[in-house]
């Protein structure tokens, strides 16, 4: 009896290690959890794409639930999610503000003209400092921000229909219902 147990211990250890390795296979190292979820969205003042002499700050969205979408005319993955953003904007459920990351205004404008403009407005982050404040490390990224200006959800990479219907819209409804 003891011999059987001793024999089984290495097998049990092997299975335990195998289990953890299997879990690891499922993990995506590009998907870094953001430490900013639950914290106030960092403040900034950036020029507006449509009128570069004008500046805009996130404080203007206080009292509203909204999305901040990081994009760039140089970003090919952004083209993949863009139709979904246009759909979302058409539904008028939640306003989307674009953060044009390390982009040139002429290129940004041309891109929006070509692919459509789902944004309430876009602001230009020329030197990438605001993106760093938001912990952005790639485009596209999307932040869901509540009425008090707190980040509630971050999507790394393009939004998908599953993310929109499964995570984003329910959360938007929840946050809108809250005071």
């Amino acid at each position: 009896m003891m011999r059987t147990i001793k024999f089984l211990i290495p097998l049990a250890i092997f299975l335990a290690i195998g289990w953890f390795l299997l879990l690891g296979l499922d993990r995506n190292p590009r998907d870094i959890p953001s430490p900013l979820v639950g914290k106030p969205a960092p403040d900034f003042s950036l020029p507006v794409l449509a009128d570069l002499s004008r500046t805009w700050t996130p404080a203007e969205m206080k009292g509203q639930v909204w999305l901040l979408n990081v994009w760039g005319s140089w970003c090919t993955a952004c083209q993949v999610e863009h139709p979904l953003l246009l759909e979302l904007a058409a539904k008028k459920t939640v306003p989307i503000v674009g953060l044009a990351w390390k982009d040139m205004p002429d290129n940004s404008k041309a891109w929006l003209k070509r692919f459509g403009d789902p944004y309430l407005l876009s602001v230009m982050d020329f030197n990438g400092k605001v993106a760093i404040d938001y912990g952005v490390y790639g485009a596209p990224e999307t932040f869901l921000i509540d009425k008090q200006g707190v980040i509630r959800f971050k999507q790394v990479g393009p939004v998908t229909p599953e993310v929109i219907s499964g995570k984003l819209l329910p959360l938007v409804a929840q946050l809108k219902a809250a005071p």
């Binding site: 959890p33 953001s34 430490p35 760093i132």
Partner: protein, 166 residues
């Protein structure tokens, strides 16, 4: 030399460069994740190095700069995992396994020694098979000699094995 009350002494360029390099080598490039911030040529790496440099110029300490980045990107931006509650297993695990393994090895060694010793003592005390009702003195001493020589051979083998394992 007059100084305004809030002036920070400007770090000389050389030491700022050294600090920038040292810090960059301890930070991860989040785009090319197996490279340090120092090695990577990604746009974000260039931006982050510039940001680290401007923080150094502002007089921030190394730990303040690391905190600044961890606040925005999480622990993953540090190339060396910090020593905290959720990384104890990561840091101490190998040592724990090593101690565990050493303990098992010692037990195995002791068990094999014990079984070798008991085998030889069993042989020494075992009554030799006799043909007659009364074992002849000659026969008895023969079997005892046999048992004793076997015992000696076993001890000799045990000694050799112990020397090998040491």
């Amino acid at each position: 030399m007059a100084q305004t009350p809030n002036a920070q002494p400007r770090p000389d360029t050389k030491s700022a460069e050294i600090r920038l390099k040292a810090l960059s080598e301890e930070l991860r490039c989040l785009v090319c994740q197996n490279q340090t911030l120092a090695d990577s040529n990604a746009d974000l790496a260039v931006d982050l190095r510039n940001q680290v440099k401007s923080l150094i110029d502002q007089g921030q300490s190394d730990s303040q700069i690391k905190t600044y980045l961890v606040e925005r990107y999480g622990d993953f931006v540090l190339y060396k995992p910090p020593m905290q509650a959720n990384t104890w297993l990561l840091w101490l695990g190998p040592f724990v396994l090593l101690i565990f393994g050493a303990l098992i090895w010692r037990r195995v060694q002791r068990t094999s020694e014990r079984s070798a010793v008991s085998a030889s003592s069993a042989l020494a005390s075992a009554a030799p098979p006799s043909n007659g009702a009364a074992p002849s003195p000659a026969g008895q001493s023969d079997s005892r000699a046999f048992a004793e020589s076997t015992d000696r051979a076993l001890s000799a083998r045990q000694e050799a094995a112990r020397k090998l394992l040491d």
